[in-house]
Structures are given as C-alpha cells and as structure tokens.
C-alpha cells in the first residue's frame, strides 16, 4: 500500500502565489477527483508536482511513501512513482515515444506494450511511430498520454483535464482504462476535471473542491452532484 501526501503546498507562478497551502492525502487503488473553478490552481498543482520549470515551490511537502519528491529531479519523481498526464501534451520533433519510454526505464517489449495500451483507448497504432505528438490532434495526444501511463504503470497518476478534447466514446475508454488500473496494479488516480461526465465510468472515492489555491471541501461522490446543482459559488466563501 502506497501513500501520496501533499501537505500545505505553496507554489509561485510568475511571482504570484497560486497555491496557498494545498493539502490532500491518498492511497493506492483510490480514485480522487479535484474540481474547482478556472484559476483555482488545479493545473498549477499538476505542473508543480511534475517539476515544470515555470512553477516554483515556496513551501510545503509532497511525499510518496515518505520520500520527499520535491527534492527530486522531474525524471526521479517518475521513478518514485508519480506520473503526470498533461492537459496540453507537448510535441517533441525527432523523438519517438518508444525511445523515450525505453530511456524512462520501461521494460519488456515496449513497442508491443504500447500497441496493447493504444488499443485500450482506441488510438490508431501507426500514430505511435510518429515523433512524439507531432501532427496529432488534441484528442489523440490525450490518448497517447494514456499509452505512456499504461506502459509506465506509476503508483500515482495525476491527470490534468484528461477529459477535455475527447469525444464521448474516447472519454469512456479513458475512464475505463483508469478504473482498471486501480485494480490491475493498484494505481492511485488523481483526476483534475471540470466535468462530471468523466465520473460516470470512473467512480471516485473522494472529491476535493479547490478554490483560490486551497482544498476548501472534501467529500464523497455526492459533492459532484452538489457542484452540478449549485456551481462553485457556495464553496468560494469557504476559503476565508
């Protein structure tokens, strides 16, 4: 059983404090969902955890099984068990995904495993041989992130709006892949989303509402229904 602990995390972006002491905890096999209005700090959390150079951690602690991952280089965070699927995956001309995954330490017949993962999220296999994300549509890039996720099998995966840009069928396939990972290798899934429809096939254990850089409410699936009915407004008053 693994544990991800985010404790009072503070992050600056461009000299402005965006995360103001965000805390949450989760364990292997759980599905947690972060919801919150635009600008509340959801994507900042994802990027800061993955060590994006534009995000400066100014306080707090993040650990996976007691290892402080904020001390680690971005690639070492992946080795420690943390993987980020991006909202806007970048393209890397000249570099093939199979070479990157082998360099990342993926084992076995990596290309065959990529094919297997691609078929689970309905990504055309020939796209895997292109340079990373080059000439892929937004939806195809999201599915390619899921291929990486499936090959790397992280202990915890943070998915930054994996649902945006996906059609209904693809969304269902991605949600089912994520749900299966929780039993397949006990993955802990932390999904950032605006939309409840992801939750139709990916049943969350816990929902966190983020507002103004902090978790302002934590609850069960019923919280999503409340958000759907009332919007974020009632929660925005909780931060003070």
């Amino acid at each position: 059983m693994s544990h991800l602990v985010i404790d009072e995390l503070r992050v600056d972006v461009g000299g402005r404090e965006v995360l103001k002491g965000l805390s949450l905890e989760m364990s292997s096999g759980e599905v947690h969902v972060i919801m919150g209005p635009n600008g509340s700090g959801k994507s900042t959390l994802a990027h800061a955890l993955a060590g994006h150079p534009g995000y400066r951690v100014t306080g707090g602690r993040v650990s996976v099984d007691g290892v402080d991952i904020l001390e680690l280089a971005p690639s070492e965070r992946v080795s420690a068990g943390l993987f980020l699927a991006l909202q806007h995956p970048l393209d890397v001309p000249g570099v093939r995904l199979v070479d990157a995954l082998v360099s990342a330490g993926a084992t076995g017949d990596v290309r065959a495993r990529m094919s297997d993962e691609a078929s689970r999220v309905d990504l055309r296999d020939e796209l895997l041989d292109r340079f990373i994300n080059v000439d892929l549509s937004g939806g195809e890039r999201k599915r390619a992130e899921m291929v990486q996720f499936g090959v790397l099998q992280p202990r915890f995966a943070i998915l930054d709006e994996i649902d945006s840009g996906l059609d209904v069928d693809a969304l269902g396939a991605v949600a089912r892949r994520l749900a299966l990972s929780t039993t397949e290798w006990g993955c802990g899934v932390l999904a950032i989303t605006h939309f409840r429809r992801l939750l139709h096939e990916l049943t969350p254990n816990v929902i966190h509402v983020v507002s103004a850089g902090r978790v302002v409410a934590t609850g069960g699936p019923e919280l999503a229904e409340q958000l759907e009915a009332e919007g974020y407004e009632p929660f925005s008053t909780l931060e003070r």
């Binding site: 150079p53 971005p74 992946v78 970048l90 890397v92 000249g94 570099v95 990157a100 360099s103 330490g105």
Partner: protein, 402 residues
C-alpha cells in the same frame, strides 16, 4: 628537414611535372592567414606544416562504422593515406584505378588544394559506365596515419547511371588531412554521396569537393563531421547544363574547442537548375561552427531555384555558431530563399520528456538526435541506420559532460 624539403623531395621522386607545378604554385602562395576573410575563423596560428611529416604508417583496422557499412556495400575501396590498398567486389560497369595527380587550374587560388595536388600519391578514380545502376553503395573506407596526408578522389558517373558513394574517414592522432574530391555527373545521371568524418580530436581536416552536374543530372551530397580539431569542408557544385540539380546536407557535432567551418558555393550556370542547401549542427563546450553559403546567379540563369537553410543548436553558453547565407542574384526570373537560426534546446520539450521519466541527459541526447534526424535519414540507402547508431554513441559523451 622542413616540411617543404620533404615535399620537394617527394615531388622530385614522383617525376610528375604536373605535381611540380602544383608545388610551385603552393610555394608562391604559402598557407592562408586569418586576415583572409574566408579563413577568418581557422586557428591558423596553431598550424605549422613543420610539425608534420608525410603520413606513412601501416594500414590500421577499419573503423567500426566502416566495417558495418562494408556489409551493405556492392564495392569496397580500402584507402590508406590516399593510396588504394584493396578493392573488394567487381560490379559490372564500375572501374577503379589510381592515376597520377595533375595540376588543376580551377583550384589555382586555393593553397591547400595545390598542396594536395602536389603531395598526393595519385587520384583514386571511380568511373561508372553510362546506363549503370548499382544496388548497394560504393564504400570508400579511408584511413590516415599520423602526419600529413592528401587523399584525392574523382568519381565519374556516366549518363543515365545511378550511384551511391559513402566515404568513411577515420585516423590516428596527429593528422593533417587535406582531401580533394571531384564528382562528375553526366546527363540524366544521379549521384548520392555520403561522407562520414570521424578523425581524431586533434586532427586538421581541410576538405574540398567540387561537383560538375550535367543536363537533368542530380547530385545529392551529405557531409557528416564529428571529428577533427579544425574541420573545414568546402563543397561546391557547378550546375553546367539546364535541369541540373544539387542538394547538399551538412551536419556537424562540435565538442571541446573544435571548429567546424563549412563553406559552400553552388553555381547555377544554366537555366532551370535547382540548388538546395541544408546545414544543421550542434555545438557543445567551447566549440564553434561557421556556415557560409554563397549562391551567385548569373544573368541568363532563368528559372533557377536556390534555397539555403542553416539551423544550429547551442548546447553550451560558451559555444558559438555563425551563420552567413549569401545570395547574389543578377537574373530576375528565379526563386531564392534563405533561413537560419541559432538557439538552445527547448527547455519545455526537455521537461516534457523528463516528466515521462527520461533522465535529463538522456532527454537531451534524444532531442539532439531528433534535431539531426532528418540529416541522417537522407543518407544513401542502408547507411542511415549505421550512422544513426554511431551518432547516438557519440551523443552520450556530449550530454554527459554538459
């Protein structure tokens, strides 16, 4: 004994009046100096011919790349210090000989070329009969010993023939290598060339090539340079008849205090000619690259299509890349373009790979390899995979010292 004393003895012994003439021409000019604009970036103050004797060591084993390439070649010409050692394979329509060097007026203003013509053991000549199509490439596996060597090469591709030539140049430390190559591509013929230079890190390599391209003929030339302390590569093409075209791809990887100095001068001397120049390289440490292309288009060279592009990757704040594409156009009915860029690796792309679990040095290696990919991919058939593998190994060293 000074180098020139050795040179005079050697030329006298050859009994070849053409080589005497070339040596006289060299002695009248002497080595160039950095006050000459085209030699501005060459560390000529550190070059003294008297530090060299004429290369004469035993034949070493082939480089690993050459050994791998040999398996894919239809003809392997083993050359050491400019001399043909062996020829393996005998495809029909191809003849390999070594002939005495002769004075060439076209290189009369180039000191190093004069020296090469004077000192060479002879021109390695590959002549392909008209209408010959060769499946695998011709490999010229060329090595040099310590000292000065002057390999001359002449390739003649007869009308309607198709030929690929791959040259692998490697050698001992302490070498000064001055290759001079001429490529004659006759009507409707195609010549694909690949040169892989991986000399020792202290070598001087001052190379010059000249392609003469006939009516509707094509020469496609790739030059990849990893080795040498000073690497100069001047690659010219005379497009002498309508429909002639040349493509030149130059690639370099600079380390330490290396200087890669590329000069190119395609000359569209007829109508409907095409010239595409693409140069891409990466410079690390305190190395430097220079790219200078001059496309001169004469009045009357109508429908000329000439493009030159130079992209440089700066892998260290102490590395330099100078990019100087020039166009001199005296005809209106032409299409010309040039572009150049100099910049570091993209930080966000690197982070993206790192965030997939790829360690930083590996991410950089993959990105540099990716930057150079299109250059390697354009090599003649079967050669790309061998060169890509060799390049990947070299890049491991480059990124580990960053």
């Amino acid at each position: 004994m000074t180098f020139l004393d050795q040179a005079r003895n050697r030329v006298r012994a050859s009994g070849n009046p053409e080589q005497s003439r070339a040596l006289e021409s060299f002695e009248a000019r002497g080595l160039p100096t950095t006050s000459d604009e085209v030699w501005r970036y060459a560390p000529l103050s550190t070059l003294s011919l008297d530090n060299y004797s004429v290369a004469a060591g035993p034949v070493p084993p082939s480089a690993s790349t050459a050994r791998e390439l040999a398996g894919r070649a239809s003809l392997v010409i083993r050359v050491h210090n400019g001399e043909v050692i062996s020829v393996e394979g005998s495809p029909s329509g191809v003849e390999v000989t070594q002939r005495p060097a002769h004075f060439d007026e076209r290189f009369a203003h180039d000191s190093f070329s004069q020296l090469a013509l004077a000192m060479s053991p002879g021109v390695v000549e590959v002549v392909v009969a008209p209408g010959t199509v060769l499946e695998g490439p011709v490999l010229i596996d060329s090595t040099v010993s310590a000292g000065a060597s002057f390999p001359l090469l002449r390739v003649v591709v007869g009308a309607r023939s198709e030929l690929s030539v791959v040259e692998n140049l490697s050698g001992e430390a302490g070498a000064l290598v001055v290759p001079l190559a001429e490529y004659v591509v006759e009507e409707s013929a195609t010549l694909r060339l690949g040169t892989y230079q991986d000399l020792a890190p202290d070598a001087w390599h001052v190379a010059r090539t000249l392609a003469t391209v006939g009516r509707d003929a094509t020469v496609s030339q790739a030059v990849i340079s990893l080795g040498a302390f000073y690497n100069r590569s001047r690659n010219d093409a005379d497009l002498v008849a309508p429909g002639a075209s040349n493509e030149l791809r130059t690639t370099y990887l600079g380390r330490g205090h290396q200087v890669h100095d590329y000069r190119t001068r395609p000359f569209p001397g007829a109508s409907r000619t095409t010239s595409v120049l693409l140069s891409k390289g990466a410079v690390a440490g305190e190395s430097r690259s220079i790219y200078t292309g001059l496309i001169e288009i004469e009045k009357g060279a109508k429908k000329t299509d000439a493009r030159q592009t130079n992209h440089n990757l700066l892998l260290s704040p102490h590395a330099h890349a100078d990019s100087v594409p020039n166009l001199d156009i005296r005809e209106n009915d032409v299409v010309c373009a040039h572009a150049s860029s100099v910049g570091p690796l993209d930080e966000l792309q690197r982070w993206y790979l790192e965030s997939r679990g790829v360690p930083r040095s590996e991410a950089e290696r993959l990105m540099i390899q990716g930057f150079l990919y299109e250059m390697v991919a354009a090599l003649p058939g079967g050669v790309a995979a061998v060169i890509e593998q060799s390049l990947a190994k070299e890049l491991v060293d480059v990124v580990s010292v960053r």
